[in-house]
Symmetry: C2
Subunit: 317 residues, 2 copies
């Protein structure tokens, strides 16, 4: 099937443009092929933007997942940032850097995965950049819209807030651990919590919010630092996936540690306030947010994190 250098820069742009043309979103005024893309937000929307990189042998290995899975996971990581702001997707750009020897099969798989997720979450590819480089890397910049002044923030936790997490924790880390021990490729593609984020942004009593990309412990620490508060967490309440303890045992891993420090869950960690204990039962929240939500602790005036072992997230350099 050949390699990237045979297709060339403009050949690849044409290929991408052809694939992306099948996307139809009326908000894209000018898509791929001009000096820049033009996207039309709704009247009164604030604009949300986030950029994220996935670098070969740093964030991913070709050996542990199919190119298509990689493409899907790359976009999900970015959509999750929109979810954490309470925003809806408007579109994304892709800056792909790669050696000329990159097999076209990988390029096509990557693109197929990206565009599959893009369709699913109505977030069209609108532009980007291609460059030669020693390592393959994808930088995605995602754009979103949120009702003016309603974006969810990291610095909005207040003492007394109750802390919640969506879904379950640790499944991505377990999937990665399995793949790295040679027990099959990573197949899991997390779900970006876009609907939950938007519902939260509209909720009275919303507090702060972050998406869990580096592990609960690390991302909770970011949230607390941004808000200048502390938290008390009940580790027994951490929501674990079905079969997770058994899966961990098989690999000799400690389930709670993996749920706390494992990255790429892309669940939302958020706080709520001003609800009575009764109005804020899990069933009501699940209904309002249309997702499983677990209360895991509360925000304290004292800085610091109580109830959790100190966990390490992913650090660069």
């Amino acid at each position: 099937m050949g390699q990237l250098s045979e297709l060339g820069e403009f050949g690849l742009i044409e290929r991408i443009a052809r694939l992306a043309r099948r996307q139809s979103a009326s908000r894209v005024v000018i898509g791929i092929g001009d000096d820049a893309a033009v996207v039309r937000p709704r009247p009164g929307e604030d604009l949300v933007v986030s950029s994220d990189a996935m670098v070969e042998d740093v964030h991913f290995r070709w050996s542990t997942q199919a190119p298509r899975t990689l493409g899907r996971r790359a976009l999900v990581a970015n959509l999750s940032d929109l979810a954490a702001m309470g925003a809806r997707p408007l579109g994304f750009t892709l800056a792909l850097s790669a050696p000329g020897t990159l097999p076209l099969q990988r390029v096509d798989g990557l693109l197929a995965g990206l565009l599959a997720e893009a369709r699913q979450y109505d977030c069209p590819l609108v532009g980007g950049n291609l460059a030669r480089a020693q390592q393959t890397s994808l930088v995605i910049s995602v754009l979103g819209g949120v009702a003016r002044g309603r974006a969810l923030r990291r610095d909005a936790l207040r003492a007394g807030d109750r802390l919640f997490v969506t879904g379950t924790l640790g499944a991505s880390a377990l999937s990665l651990a399995r793949a790295e021990r040679g027990a099959g490729a990573i197949r899991r593609v997390p779900v970006p919590r876009l609907r939950v984020g938007r519902a939260l942004a509209a909720l009275r009593g919303r507090g702060g919010c972050i998406d869990i990309s580096d592990g609960l412990a690390a991302d909770l620490a970011h949230l607390l630092a941004a808000s200048g508060v502390g938290a008390e967490i009940d580790p027994a309440r951490l929501p674990l996936p079905r079969g997770f303890r058994r899966g961990c045992r098989e690999l000799g891993l400690e389930p709670q540690q993996l749920a706390l420090a494992g990255g790429e869950d892309y669940e939302l960690l958020f706080s709520l306030r001003g609800w009575t204990r009764r109005s804020l039962d899990a069933a009501t929240l699940n209904r309002r947010l249309a997702v499983r939500v677990t209360e895991i602790g509360r925000v304290t005036r004292d800085a610091g994190l109580h109830g959790l072992p100190s966990g390490g997230g992913w650090r660069h350099f």
Copy 2:
């Protein structure tokens, strides 16, 4: 002064956030430090977005320019894309990938250059990403706003349009040629034609527009292909910088060839129509656009480019 690995990811984020905090733009609702940035466009604006990469040893060499110059030129390349759409800057994100051994002096120089241009053109740094990689690369995603439906396009050339170019051509290519022959570092930082672009977007009789990043010949070809037309160019009219011919002679280069095929001029190439010959004299345009503008040819119904030697632009892979 140390290297990047000593500072670490979060140290570098703090350093960038501290530098960027000095920017003040009321349109930045949430800046560096959250899951995404939030920017507030003006009511009724379309949103413009472009992403561009600069990769070490592909787009730049540390040996031919100061880190500060590189930072300035990286942002200018992106601002020029906004100019070509007729947009005003809203803000930008920076995805910086680099080896841990990158000297902090280079990091600081880069950031200083980026932020100096950002201040000059009121385009604040609002977020980004840091990652470890073998090569240094900067991916900038720039956001702009343009009055709804007024964005300048590549596909809007019509037969009979008159073709214009701002400023002069070839200075960046000459500066690069000098630096590569060891005759001093690249110092030239092109000017993004933001004001011209916005004036053009508001002009009756505006046609198509592109910024000249790959050389006039290559970018004109893009413009013609997008619009499905041809052009006749008068090479004698190409506007050359003062002292350019002499500078080329000293290096044994052909001035017209360098002006046609040399990249990174970041002038605007655009077409106008429906003006009478008299109303469209250079003096009127210069006054309306507040910049030197030269008429270099006209758009023809026949595809193909007449009057120019076939020039090669920059190609990846």
